[in-house]
């Protein structure tokens, strides 16, 4: 019996062969596959194959109420769910003309930055594991768990919070959480030099990551690269600064850049971003107690809420790049159309295919992780 994935190749040259990389492969981030044509161990051509995580989000969101979709949106991107909630909420607010109270905006920034740190720690661990440094993975995951405890105390859930709703946030912060967050941030800062010793000063990383998956700034711009991957090519493009939302204009932070554009530069940008997120969180912790007021603006009955007709595009800087929600309402109680523009839709398909061509087979996993490609965001 022929194998299910058998496909005859028309007279291939004997030195070339095809390899199906993934979906059941530990070097692949998530459930994703890449078909590569190899000559020796050098990749001649790479074809991304997605859709393993397709859930038809955009379709089923059209069949749920506006408020019910709050539970669906964080599931679009698993490692970094908060920007999804926030962008969806902001797009609905733009449609419905809702003003978010100031306190809710500060709480949202807190959530967004904690989520960014979590996602970067996860990527950091995963990226290190792809080149054989498993200690980093253990450290990154255990460090992230401290932040997940903060999430759990605020929202009741570790991964999918469903905390940010249109009009504000679901409930106020529990007492004493800011002190706990401070302690966790201090712990992360205390550990940061150890992470440096283990990863960024490691000979393995210098040999493997430097010069791997390099792209120039022109290439990055024309391929639609955003987020840390673009900043690693030298362009300080950050939507928190360039198209500000929430209270980011009031916050003081830098936009770290690197110029090399390779896997090492991308990881360095992420490391510097974690430090900036810590800086932002310190400001939020200092400011939040003085910001009083409601945490949610008055909403109409959510079960019979007809959002005014129109369209809105809300974008956010997620840990992976530009995240956009294009939401169309026809005046009904359900969205007419929701289009999710995830950053990985660029990074995991066209950019990955381009960067893999000419790379070696052992670098596939590293390039994919250094781009921080998130397959659920591609498949939706």
């Amino acid at each position: 019996m022929r194998p299910q994935n058998y496909r005859p190749v028309a007279h291939p040259p004997s030195h070339e062969y095809e390899l199906y990389f993934g979906p059941n492969h530990p070097g692949i981030e998530g459930n994703y596959a890449i078909r590569v044509r190899l000559k020796g161990d050098v990749i001649q051509e790479a074809i991304a194959d997605g859709g393993y995580l397709h859930r038809g989000f955009e379709k089923i969101m059209e069949s749920r109420l506006w408020i019910q979709n709050v539970a669906l949106v964080p599931r679009i991107c698993v490692p970094d769910p908060v920007p999804m909630e926030d962008s969806y909420a902001r797009s609905v607010e733009a449609l419905g003309g809702l003003e978010v109270p100031e306190r809710a905006q500060w709480i949202r920034v807190l959530m967004l930055e904690v989520s960014r740190i979590c996602a970067h720690l996860f990527t950091f661990g995963g990226n290190a594991a792809t080149i054989g440094l498993y200690t980093n993975m253990f450290w990154g995951v255990s460090m992230r768990d401290l932040f997940l405890d903060i999430f759990e105390e605020i929202t009741g859930a570790r991964i999918y919070h469903m905390y940010i709703t249109p009009g504000g946030v679901r409930r106020d912060l529990p007492p004493g959480i800011l002190d706990k967050l401070s302690a966790v941030i201090d712990e992360l800062e205390r550990r940061a030099p150890e992470f440096d010793d283990l990863f960024f000063d490691s000979t393995v990383v210098m040999n493997r990551a430097a010069g791997c998956g390099t792209m120039t700034q022109e290439q990055a711009l024309s391929w639609g690269v955003t987020g840390p991957n673009l900043r690693a090519c030298g362009l300080p493009f950050d939507l928190r600064r360039d198209d500000p939302y929430l209270v980011y204009p009031e916050l003081d932070f830098d936009i770290p850049t690197e110029t090399a554009g390779d896997a090492l530069a991308r990881m360095r940008v992420r490391k510097a971003e974690v430090q900036q997120s810590i800086r932002i969180l310190r400001q939020v912790i200092a400011r939040l107690p003085s910001v009083k007021g409601p945490i949610r603006c008055p909403l109409p009955n959510p079960l019979a809420w007809n959002v005014p007709a129109g369209e809105a595009y809300a974008r956010a800087e997620s840990s992976k790049g530009e995240l956009g929600f294009f939401v169309v309402s026809n005046g009904g109680d359900k969205p007419w159309r929701v289009h999710v523009r995830g950053p990985s839709q660029m990074h995991a398909v066209q950019v990955l295919e381009n960067l893999l061509t000419g790379a070696r087979i052992e670098d596939i996993a590293q390039i994919m992780f250094s781009l921080d490609a998130c397959p659920p965001e591609v498949d939706r």
């Binding site: 019996m1 022929r2 194998p3 299910q4 994935n5 058998y6 496909r7 979906p23 059941n24 492969h25 530990p26 998530g30 459930n31 078909r35 074809i47 194959d49 859709g51 393993y52 995580l53 397709h54 859930r55 038809g56 379709k59 089923i60 069949s63 539970a71 669906l72 599931r75 698993v78 490692p79 996860f122 661990g125 993975m137 253990f138 995951v141 255990s142 992230r144 768990d145 997940l148 859930a157 570790r158 991964i159 999918y160 659920p376 498949d379």
Partner: protein
């Protein structure tokens, strides 16, 4: 081709068949002893089929640390014991899951992780995801919730270990005993040209788990595929179409 019935060639001797003698008391004692040992060393296939995979690194690594009770990730299906279905299954993933499952060596255990594997969960009206995992492969246990906490994952592993130790984690035998039903469900979803490289019926004969439900009208379709594949495939044979759909 319509005037000739397909000829099913004799199956070659794939593996050694087990005598009835061997399945005696001594054998059963040895099985229980093996189960006892097996429950203490389990390898989970490293396959992130859905979003639940995000809770596995905390479960496996230092905070919750499943390795202390003998559960560890494994990268190849052929050396893995547990197939953990971490969340929703899209139809495209389900094909790969079945291929992975059939490659695993018996005894093998399937755990459904999250509400999506039980009844579709949050994606109950999604056209893309499979609603019930146990229609396509037999499952030994489920974890409810979305997203289940690492403690819940630990608990289901511990429960599974108890079940294995007691010799009750026998869902894998059901796949052999009722292969026709599972295959029928798979074919209803993937089309009649669906077939996998593993000869499940030969395996069922090897393990001695051939029941009334092992062969049936769906496995007859499978035999026809095998007969065609070994002879010159006729023009209208749908194999090519199946491959086109599988690969991009």
């Amino acid at each position: 081709m319509s005037d000739t019935t397909p000829v099913i060639p004799d199956q070659p001797e794939v593996c050694r068949t087990v005598d009835a003698e061997e399945r005696g008391v001594w054998r059963r004692v040895m099985d229980r002893f093996a189960d006892h040992c097996r429950a203490r060393s389990l390898f989970v296939l490293h396959y992130c089929t859905g979003c639940g995979a995000i809770e596995l690194p905390p479960t496996i690594t230092s905070r919750f640390d499943m390795e202390r009770v003998g559960v560890s990730p494994m990268v190849t299906p052929r050396q893995a014991d547990i197939l953990l279905i971490t969340g929703y299954l899209s139809v495209k993933t389900l094909k790969r899951v079945i291929l992975s499952y059939e490659q695993m060596q018996s005894p093998k255990y399937v755990l459904g992780f999250g509400s999506c594997t039980i009844n579709g969960g949050m994606y109950w009206n999604s056209y893309a995801t499979v609603k019930r995992l146990d229609q396509y492969i037999p499952a030994d246990g489920f974890i409810a919730g979305c997203m289940p906490r690492p403690e819940a994952v630990q608990q289901v592993f511990l429960d599974l270990m108890k079940k294995i130790d007691a010799g009750q984690a026998n869902a894998w035998q059901d796949y052999y005993l009722n292969y026709d039903r599972y295959l029928g469900n798979q074919m209803a979803l993937f089309g009649e040209e669906w077939h996998t490289p593993v000869d499940v019926i030969a395996e069922a004969e090897h393990y001695g788990y051939v029941g009334d439900g092992t062969r049936g009208r769906f496995t007859e379709i499978l035999d026809r595929h095998a007969a065609y594949a070994l002879r010159d495939a006729p023009e209208d044979y749908p194999e090519r179409g199946a491959n086109e759909r599988l690969l991009p």
